[in-house]
């Protein structure tokens, strides 16, 4: 993979973890968050940039050069924020790869139609638990 420009919106536990994992020589990373203290979660080795601001504002996304982004990960704690930013990235700035976290499975089902890749932690966790149950040795109470 040649050098990629990756934009991460939301510097919570997931956003900072993604930034840490992706922060390599091959990638150029920018993390956006509206809370300055959120950037403290980034590791000392993080070599990318941070942008302070509300990414539902076009001007903030433009400031982060969204039009040059190869990948956008929208991982704030708020479903509506994530879905709006993902659509703006896709439809206005034509970012080729957009992924959004959506907690509510009903919302996720709706927006998967919109050419936006969604990740639903609720569904993933439920599936993990169900798989665990299926794999468990017969645990029927006597």
């Amino acid at each position: 993979m040649s050098e990629s420009y990756i934009l991460i919106v939301g510097c919570g536990r997931l956003g900072s973890l993604l930034a840490e994992r992706l922060s390599t020589d091959e990638n150029s990373i920018v993390v956006i968050d509206m809370d300055e203290t959120a950037f403290e979660k980034l590791p000392g080795t993080f070599s990318g940039f941070t942008v302070l601001g509300d990414a539902t504002e076009l001007s903030v996304l433009e400031h982060a050069n969204i039009d040059k982004a190869d990948y956008l990960f929208v991982v704030t704690e708020d479903d509506n924020t994530n879905l709006m930013i993902a659509q703006v990235a896709r439809e206005i700035f034509e970012v080729p790869n957009v992924m959004a976290r959506v907690f509510d499975p009903r919302r996720e089902a709706l927006y998967s139609e919109f050419r936006i890749a969604t990740v639903c932690p609720t569904k993933l966790s439920a599936q993990a638990f169900l798989d665990g149950l299926a794999k468990a040795p017969t645990s029927q109470p006597a």
């Binding site: 539902t56 504002e57 076009l58 509506n80 924020t81 879905l83 703006v88």
Partner: protein, 221 residues
């Protein structure tokens, strides 16, 4: 019509009061228990307590049969997603949304909201117009803010008095839709001559209004 309004505050209250007075059926979705009770007490609307972007709450508010949904919260992302869900899930034919960041007006239109308006933009343009021209009686932006309808009263000092409309040199996009003279509205032609005390109903393109108002009333401060 059955109209669903999502929001609170003065705008929701006064809009609901007006709409119910005109015999529209209004359902308000508000997520604050105290404010919901208050709205239920002070208006004729049905009030549903909850988040407007929750599909179940929208269904409870009767979205399946609603003719229009108006999103008035102070969070653009909530307004957008609520409008999109109303259309996608329940087929609501018309959605109107308040846009807090004026830059988002275009975004909302591209993403499927029927009408998006920015209160800040509407108010600023009205204040600017009122501040500049003392003879403007009323102003209303239409056509998604591209056009303005205004009522302009001509006085003794107006430079257009005694002239034919065709000779005023108004811009292409400007139209004098009606002249109200002695309490009667007449539709003018290019030959019509303007008189003192005429009230003109004027349709102007947003960015040309100022130059044309100058030619009519000359009262640019």
């Amino acid at each position: 019509m059955h109209i669903i309004i999502i929001g609170g505050g003065h705008t929701t209250y006064f809009l609901t009061r007006d709409l119910t007075a005109k015999n529209h059926r209004v359902t308000i979705i508000n997520n604050d228990p105290g404010e919901s009770r208050e709205l239920a007490r002070r208006t004729d609307a049905l009030v549903v307590l909850g988040n407007g972007s929750d599909p179940d709450i929208l269904a409870e508010a009767g979205a399946r049969r609603a003719d229009m949904l108006i999103a008035l919260t102070d969070r653009d992302q909530d307004n957008l997603i609520t409008c999109q869900m109303a259309v996608k899930l329940y087929g609501v034919p018309r959605t109107l949304s308040l846009v807090n960041d004026p830059d988002n007006i275009e975004v909302f239109r591209k993403l499927g909201v029927t009408t998006a308006f920015s209160a800040i933009q509407v108010i600023t343009s009205m204040i600017e117009a009122y501040a500049n021209f003392e003879d403007i009686v009323a102003l209303m932006p239409v056509g998604e803010g591209e056009l303005t309808i205004s009522e302009v009263r001509l006085s003794k000092k107006s430079p257009s008095i005694g002239k034919r409309i065709m000779d005023l040199g108004l811009s292409q996009g400007t139209l004098i839709a009606a002249i109200i003279r002695n309490g009667k509205a007449v539709v003018p032609s290019g030959q019509s001559i303007l008189l003192i005390e005429d009230v003109l109903v004027l349709v102007t393109e947003h960015n040309k209004a100022e130059a044309d108002l100058n030619k009519l009333t000359g009262s640019d401060v």
